[in-house]
Point group: C2
Chain length 219, copies 2
């Protein structure tokens, strides 16, 4: 019985890591589609969202079944409950990658990004993908020290996001209102994507230690 | 033992409804502060966020304790697990109200809203508060029919949000880029606030019926 339980717990953990892998790939492609105005790539990200959502629902069902059948306690209970929250974070990260893809599809064949913010989005995209990869590593290793690294990585996203707003609110911005609105919303999507990765790290720290990390104020 | 359990479950439900009441009030004041450029009111909303966050953490702890001590099954387990998700939604709604307050504080003594979108935000604010009130009602009654109403109420927010974007992207917009960025982000905050209220309704429907409502694609 206990062995079967541990197998199921390991399977749950694997499912989360796989779901996170899909999210990494979604953000990577969404960012590329945005930078290159690549319509087929953007459409692929949008079409693949359902796949991520299905994973999320399956993980929630598996976790629920584990609660019913195994009635775990202590750290194992924290892991099962935490899986549900992590699946919800991953689901949102997938949705945010789709929002990025949506904007690049909407503006195609033009590029949603004016030249002066391209470098900024190239950087934020790379940072977001890095955060999602670290989250995936954390979901496999359950290492609270690596999980804590996510907060530093998020600081870099926040710094780039602030830089983006200085470009946007500069009086010399001459790309018009529509473009400014796109850039502001896109910036928000990357920032939230990173925040969810940090939340995943916080969950893993909570599971490992039973204590909440010092809560960084989330945007 | 079972009686104590039901008392604790009822207490959990009450805590959620109270937390939702704080969220109603936060959004109501944030919206008023935005419309009136009322700095003290905006600052009150920001200061009160911690109160909402504390509720969220307490609810999660109570739910966790219930899982450990009572090992509920079936619909009771769904209720306890659902409480954790609902608390997370309410926490986000509180954070979104704070984002609205942040923007009105940042622009004070000016108003963040140009005249042509005032009516739109007055409407979206009223709708958002209505959704949060309905969510509170649902948390007390656990009535899946009322919960389903949240999706119709959300449709009204989405319609107003689309209308806002037509105003924003109209070529005659002459309030500048900074203002357009504020309005775009504010619109997003109201829309997400409403989405979370719908998610609360979905959870209650799931608890009552064991089945997921047809998922509305969330933004």
């Amino acid at each position: 019985m206990r062995e079967a339980f541990h197998d199921e717990l390991a399977a749950l953990s694997n499912q989360l890591a796989e779901m996170c892998g899909l999210v990494v790939s979604a953000m990577q492609r969404a960012n590329q589609a945005l930078l290159d105005s690549d319509l087929p790539l953007a459409e692929q990200v949008i079409a693949d969202q359902e796949h991520i959502a299905v994973y999320g629902r399956r993980i929630e069902e598996s976790a629920f079944r584990l609660l019913v059948l195994q009635q775990p306690v202590a750290s194992e209970l924290r892991t099962v409950v935490g899986s549900m929250h992590i699946a919800a974070d991953l689901d949102r990260m997938g949705a945010l990658a789709v929002h990025v893809a949506d904007i690049s599809r909407l503006r195609h064949p033009d590029c949603a990004l004016p030249d002066e913010v391209r470098a900024s989005f190239s950087e934020m995209g790379a940072q977001a993908v890095r955060l999602a990869r670290t989250a995936q590593e954390v979901l496999v290793s359950r290492d609270p020290d690596v999980a804590a690294r996510l907060r530093d990585e998020d600081d870099a996203v926040d710094a780039e996001h602030r830089h983006l707003f200085t470009l946007l609110l500069d009086r010399r911005w001459d790309d018009g209102v529509c473009s400014a609105v796109d850039v502001a919303l896109l910036g928000r999507y990357y920032e939230r994507f990173a925040d969810h990765a940090v939340e995943i790290g916080n969950r893993v720290i909570f599971e490992a230690t039973g204590g909440r990390p010092q809560h960084k104020k989330l945007a």
